[in-house]
Symmetry: C2
Subunit: 242 residues, 2 copies
Amino acid sequence: MLFFTQCFGAVLDLIHLRFQHYKAKRVFSAAGQLVCVVNPTHSLKTNTGRHAVGQTSTEQGSLHSHHPLETVHDPQLIPCICPLFSCQWEGHVEVVVSHLRQTHRINILHGAEIVFLATDMHLPAPTDWIIMHSCLGHHFLLVLRKLEKYEGHPQFFATMMLIGTPTQADNFTYRLELNRNQRRLKWEATPRSVLECVDSVISDGDCLVLNTSLAQLFSDNGSLAIGIAITASKVHAAEAEM
Amino acid sequence: MLFFTQCFGAVLDLIHLRFQHYKAKRVFSAAGQLVCVVNPTHSLKTNTGRHAVGQTSTEQGSLHSHHPLETVHDPQLIPCICPLFSCQWEGHVEVVVSHLRQTHRINILHGAEIVFLATDMHLPAPTDWIIMHSCLGHHFLLVLRKLEKYEGHPQFFATMMLIGTPTQADNFTYRLELNRNQRRLKWEATPRSVLECVDSVISDGDCLVLNTSLAQLFSDNGSLAIGIAITASKVHAAEAEM
C-alpha cells in the first residue's frame, strides 16, 4: 500500500514538473530563450555564522562523507567556501563547479541568455533557488534567496557570482530582468566572485532586492521568471555616456 | 551682528547650491540632459490617516488660507486630494498643478528625459523629494519618499503619477534609472493617476524600492541622481516579445 502511495506521489510530481515546463515554454518560447525551472532549497541555517551551526550537523556529515576535509588546511589554496547555506565544504575555486554539481545536484545551463523560473515563492524564509550558468568560457552561479533580514519582513535577493577570481569577474556584466503586469525591473552589475561570500553580498544588499509585494507583482502562480544575460563588461563606457 | 550672520548663512547656501548644480552638470552634461536639483521636504505626518493629523493643523491652516474649501463638497468634482504629506487640500484634478506650484512651490521641468537629483538623502524618514514634469502634453509628478515602513529600516520609494485620470495614465510608460558604481537599476511601469493616492501606491510597494544600502551605492555625496524618461506606452508590445 505504502509502495503504491509513493508511486502515485512520484507520478503527481512528474505531472506537476511537466506542467511547469509547459507553462514556462508557453510564456517564453516567443523569444527562443532557454527556460530553466528551478525548485527551492529550504535552508536549515538562519543568520548564525557559517561555521557555528549545530542543527545542520547531520547534513554536513553527509556532505563531508563525499568531500573530506583534505583541502581545507592547504595554504596554497584560495580559501573558497561553498556558496550554499548549510554546507561547510571548502576547497579550491576550480573544483567548486564539480562540488555544486555532484553534491548539491545543481544544474548547469549553457547560453548567453536564459530564463530562470523559480517555483514556490511562497515558501518561508530562508529558502534558496540556485542554478549554474555556463557562458563566455566561465561558470556563473545565480542565487535567489528569500531571507527575513527584518523579522516579519521577508525579502528576495538575487545575485550572480563568477566561479572564479574577482579579477576575472571584473570582465563581465550580468543583467537580471523581471517583466510582467506592465512593469519591468532590470538590475545590471559586475558579478562578484564566489571567493567573496554570497552571504555578505546579500547582507550588504548589493544585489537585486525585492519586497514581497513586488515579488508577487512579478510572479505568476507562485513562480518568478528572471531573465538572465551575461556580457563582456561595457559598464565603464555606459557610465561615461550617462 | 545678527544681520551679518544671516547674510553669511545665505551666501553659504548660495555657494552650496551653485556647487551642487555644477556637480550635477559635470556628471550629466555629456548626455545633454536637463538636471534638476531637488531639495527634501521633511514631512510632519507619519503613517496615521491623512485626515486624522493633529500636529499639522498650523500648516494646514496656512495652506487653506490660500485655498479655501470651496471645491471640497462639490459632487461634480473628481475627489482629488493633494498628493503631498501634511496637506489636506482637495479639489478638481485640473487645478492640482497650480495648487502644487503656488502652495508648495514645486518646480515644473519640461522635456522627455530629465535627471532628478535628490539631495540630503541622509535626512530621517519621513521625507519627500518632489518635482513636476511636463511632457507629451501632460503633467507628471515624481515622488521620492524616504519612509520607515518597518521600524529601524528606512527605505526609498520612487514613483511617477500622472496629474490626470487613470485612463489617461494608461497611455504612458515611465522609466526611472539609477546608474553608478558599475551598477544600473531600471524600473519601468505605467504611471498611476494622482486620483489614486500616492500613499497607497507606496504602501503597496508598487514602485521602485531601494534599501538604504542600495541607495548609498547609487548616491554621490548624499545626493541621488534618478534619470527619468516618459514615453507613449509600448509595454504591451514589449511584454509580448519576451
